[in-house]
């Protein structure tokens, strides 16, 4: 097994670990960290694919590498929006729970 | 030479990892923040050694970026709450 393949498998493992955290950690901030772990896993997978398609002289395949930059920036924007939303929720309700407090059918009219 | 630099990179990384285990165990937040600081110097060292070890000089720019941002986490750590910072300066 080459070192590069190891990175591909690391990517798969990061996705799995991140997904587990995404499912079982109730704190939304932990879900966001988990989302970033999964995201990094997917990014690493793309980096692994870019490295496989590399040429002598150019290094990795530049198309995936360029898209990765876009991906990282988009993931940051998503995290920033979510963190701001979470802080606002906390400030306004004192709780960060995402649990189903959706207006149940029995809720009085807003 | 290249192998020596890579080995040194691995060693620095291993030392960093050991320190990391201690720092992340806490118990206080300050100890955990040390982990971030440790990783700052550790990853820059390993990056420089490893990158120059495989002959990739562009890692210097990556390390430069990391070095500029190295203090950031610690600064964030002490500036969470401005009220806290005010209280701090009373001896």
């Amino acid at each position: 097994m080459t070192g590069t393949t190891l990175v591909g498998l690391l990517a798969a493992a990061l996705v799995a670990v991140g997904l587990y955290g995404f499912l079982v950690n109730p704190q939304p901030l932990r879900k966001l960290i988990a989302f970033n772990l999964v995201g990094n896993g997917v990014f690493l997978l793309f980096g692994f694919i870019a490295e496989r398609g590399g040429l002598p002289g150019i290094g990795g395949d530049p198309v995936p590498q360029a898209l990765l930059i876009t991906g990282i920036v988009v993931a940051f924007a998503a995290t920033a929006l979510a963190v701001t939303l979470l802080l606002r929720l906390h400030e306004s309700t004192g709780s960060t729970s995402l649990a189903d407090e959706a207006p149940s059918p029995k809720d009085p009219a807003a | 030479m290249s192998e020596f630099l890579l080995a040194a990179a691995g060693f620095v990384l291993a030392m960093t990892a050991l320190g990391l285990v201690r720092a992340l165990r806490g118990p206080g937040d300050a100890d955990r923040m040390m982990a971030a600081q440790l990783l700052g110097s550790g990853s820059i060292g390993a990056l420089l050694l490893g990158g120059l070890g495989i002959g990739d000089r562009s890692v210097i720019d990556v390390s430069l970026t990391l070095a500029v941002l190295a203090a950031f986490a610690s600064i964030a750590f002490v500036t969470f709450a401005p009220r806290d910072a005010d209280r701090d300066e009373a001896p």
Partner: protein, 102 residues
């Protein structure tokens, strides 16, 4: 000449790695937060400085060499500041009696 430079690299990098080792031992063995912080910020900076010194011959030119030195200076600057800031936060936390003292 090249032999001398290689020797410089071997010696300086090895010495730098040793200081990382020292810093880590300090981190593992020292009894409380503030002394651990001390070990960390001092030893690792020296280690990085030696590594930078050892790598200078491998830099591509004057510009890269200057960048290497700048990296070291920046890490020293941020490490010194961060050490102060973390120490203050630790002291504050101790005053509040928040985390159990180690």
């Amino acid at each position: 000449m090249s032999f001398a430079l290689d020797l410089l690299t071997y010696v300086a990098v090895a010495a730098g790695a040793f200081f990382y080792l020292a810093g880590t031992i300090g981190l593992l063995r020292f009894p409380d937060t503030l002394t651990r912080l001390h070990a960390l910020t001092k030893a690792d900076n020296l280690g990085l400085g030696l590594i930078v010194l050892g790598l200078l011959p491998h830099a591509g030119g004057v510009a890269d060499a200057l960048k290497l030195v700048a990296i070291w200076l920046l890490v020293m600057l941020s490490s010194a500041d961060a050490g102060q800031l973390i120490a203050r936060a630790a002291r504050r936390a101790m005053r509040r009696g928040e985390p159990p003292a180690p």
